[in-house]
């Protein structure tokens, strides 16, 4: 009793001193401080680093100002150029596969029976576990000689490739792993979107005599388009920055075969300690990502507007 009296007494005293506004502002301060210190300051600092000459293994302090030299260096970095192409290819392929698979699964598991609800819960699992664990698991799954995938293929009499060791196949394997891990994300969003579709509209379409296939194509898909674009944006963005899977499956290999953009930045920054150069690449990719986000959001706004008018 006296505890609560003291606590609330203090609360009232505080409010009488700094006012309701003062308390609300005090509510805001800690979180803003953390985000500013741990996110925005480093973000700006990394831009500064990208403009100086600083290799951490040689010096603990930033070196001379070199302007855009770190950025122009990127043009002659053949590993980077290949990594960028590889990353874009990877992002598009895995996003496309995830959208298609995620939608099909969401569509087929619509409904509220217990079996479907359990199925939906299980289908979410790959996305909630640690990406490094995903990499670890799949490294075992795809192991050339004793991996379960090849064991099954061997028993079926199908040729057993070296999934992660073959330079051309390694990137395909990364796509497969990324699809396994992130299709659930697309799935869970689409499942929620499908269940929140206005049922009157679907009933109206049915009454109008549309076949299920027509309803899917002409009613459901257009209504899901704005959500779909948002999903594409999130997936593309994350795929373009994929690091954990590469790190735990191929570590960029064999050779440079699975060096993605983020992996190269990681290598430059935290392995070779060329932090200026790493900062320059990451700022370039940040600008690229922002352009992508802006483009997709503008496109989405256009689609939503068209939908609202209809």
């Amino acid at each position: 009793m006296w505890v609560s009296r003291t606590v609330w007494g203090f609360a009232d005293w505080l409010e009488s001193k700094i006012g309701e506004r003062g308390i609300l502002i005090a509510f805001i301060v800690p979180a803003v401080a953390i985000v500013v210190v741990a996110q925005f300051y480093p973000l700006l600092y990394s831009f500064y680093i990208s403009l100086v000459d600083w290799t951490l293994s040689r010096s603990t302090e930033p070196g001379d100002f070199v302007g855009l030299a770190n950025y122009t260096k990127m043009a002659s970095d053949s590993v980077l150029i290949q990594a960028v192409g590889r990353t874009i290819w990877f992002g598009l392929a895995s996003t496309a596969a995830q959208i298609v698979l995620g939608f099909i699964l969401a569509y087929l598991t619509m409904g509220e029976t217990l079996a479907l609800r359990v199925a939906r819960t299980i289908l979410i699992l790959p996305m909630v576990i640690a990406p490094v664990a995903v990499g670890t698991i799949w490294r075992m799954m795809l192991s050339a000689r004793v991996g379960p995938v090849n064991q099954v293929l061997r028993n079926l009499g199908i040729p057993t490739p070296d999934w992660l060791g073959d330079p051309t196949l390694a990137m395909v394997s990364i796509v497969i792993i990324d699809v396994w891990e992130w299709t659930p994300f697309v799935f869970v969003i689409f499942a929620a979107a499908l269940s929140s579709l206005p049922s009157e509209v679907l009933k109206a379409a049915e009454v109008d005599g549309a076949t299920p296939w027509q309803i899917l194509r002409m009613v459901i898909l257009p209504m899901l388009a704005p959500v779909g674009l948002l999903v594409v944006m999130f997936r593309l963005l994350d795929a373009l920055l994929t690091l954990d899977i590469v790190f735990t499956t191929t570590f960029g290999g064999p050779g440079f075969a699975t060096h993605t953009l983020s992996f190269w930045i990681y290598q430059q920054g935290l392995r070779y300690f060329n932090i200026s150069y790493a900062a320059a690449i990451s700022w370039a990719s940040l600008i690229g990502c922002m352009l992508l986000v802006a483009g997709l959001l503008v496109w989405r706004a256009r689609i939503s507007r068209w939908q609202k008018e209809a």
Binding site: M1, R5, W8, D12, E20
Partner: protein, 362 residues
């Protein structure tokens, strides 16, 4: 218990003026209703009295003390909200006792007062339940109970009956009147239902577009309205309003007939000028020898009353018919006008010039 004075109170939301130059004095132990259509500023005014909104201008005094900037928690006013606003995570007993707990009363005292309130409001059986387990009427009573345990300076009620169904509403209206008669405390009651305001209040403040139209007793509001808006807003069925002109013979011309006016009111009127003539249904009696001949369009049987909607080429009227020998749609009927029951308003400003209340005073 306390008296309240609102002095030149304004409330603006951006460029929208919600309440305009309001002066109002609520006496100690008075039950006052704020009546008006939605968006008229009555709830905003109540919120300002509560302290939930701060006036843009002006002062609110409680017993002569300026409380304009005092936060709600220090005013000791109790409020019953339209949606009841019961705390869903607390039992009925905890809901009712919460304000007392906040005030650090000891447990025994809280339990005693909660039990008293529960007794009075017939909530004893449901004290341990949660709001979601209650019926609409019970929730409403819990909301009242929360206010009653507190012994506040002023009770504020924001459309407390509007979420109840029609039968329960009339029933609760009576119970409320009885409860407040017992309490004998200052209360402000916001409603858009004129019947509630008329039955419960000592005085009614009628609002429109953020402006106080009239502040008077229910009978005054009804029989001596300040203007056409108040006259037509209060009363059911609504007052009929038609154009009328004062002829050379000091008789009022309307519906192609002449109406003699009491001597006393003639001084306020000008010969040849047009006025809005207001007539309440109860002052229009169907009678074969009536001076007005009109056709019956529609008959509404309300049990105690029978309302007839009448029309002629000159206009429309709503009148009362005897329930025992009701008119039928299509009948031609005669109507007798009671000159002591007529209202005249200025056509432009709507201000009342002649009202039954005025006629009687003279």
């Amino acid at each position: 218990m306390a008296g309240l004075i609102l002095s030149n109170v304004w409330k603006k939301f951006g460029s929208v003026v919600a309440v305009q130059a309001l002066d109002l004095e609520i006496r100690d132990r008075e039950f006052v209703s704020f009546l008006g259509p939605s968006g008229c500023g009555k709830t905003t005014t109540l919120n300002m009295i509560a302290g939930l909104e701060t006036p843009s201008e002006g002062q609110i005094l409680m017993d002569g003390l300026d409380v304009t900037k005092v936060p709600p928690r220090l005013r000791n006013f109790a409020m019953v909200f339209q949606g009841y606003a019961l705390y869903p995570h607390m039992t009925v007993a905890d809901n009712i006792g919460f304000a007392l707990k906040v005030r650090n009363l000891d447990k025994a005292e809280i339990a005693k007062r909660v039990a008293d309130a529960a007794e009075r409001l017939e909530l004893k059986e449901v004290l341990g339940r949660y709001p979601r387990q209650l019926s609409g009427g019970q929730r409403q009573r819990v909301a009242l109970g929360r206010a009653f345990v507190r012994d506040p300076h002023v009770f504020l009620l924001d459309e407390p009956l509007s979420n109840l169904d029609a039968v329960l509403r009339v029933q609760t209206r009576v119970e409320l009147k009885r409860l407040f008669a017992d309490l004998d405390t200052t209360a402000v009651y916001v409603t858009h239902d004129q019947a509630e305001a008329m039955t419960m209040s000592d005085r009614i403040a009628v609002f429109r577009h953020g402006v106080l139209q009239q502040f008077a007793s229910p009978l005054d509001i009804y029989r001596n309205p300040a203007n056409r808006f108040v006259a037509t807003f209060v009363g059911s069925p609504p007052m009929s309003v038609v154009e009328a002109t004062l002829g050379d013979d000091n008789q009022l011309r309307a519906f192609g007939t002449s109406i003699a006016l009491p001597e006393a009111v003639l001084g306020k009127l000008k010969v040849g000028k047009s006025y809005d003539l207001g007539l309440r249904a109860e002052d229009l009696v169907l009678a074969p020898d009536g001076q007005l001949k009109m056709r019956v369009d529609l008959v509404e049987h309300l049990g105690a009353q029978t309302i007839v909607h009448l029309s002629s080429s000159q206009g429309r009227l709503i009148a009362q018919s005897s329930p025992t020998e009701p008119a039928k749609a299509g009948d031609m009927v005669g109507i007798r006008l009671d000159p002591a029951g007529l209202y005249l308003f200025d056509r432009q400003s709507g201000a009342a010039i002649v009202t039954p209340g005025l006629i009687r005073q003279n």
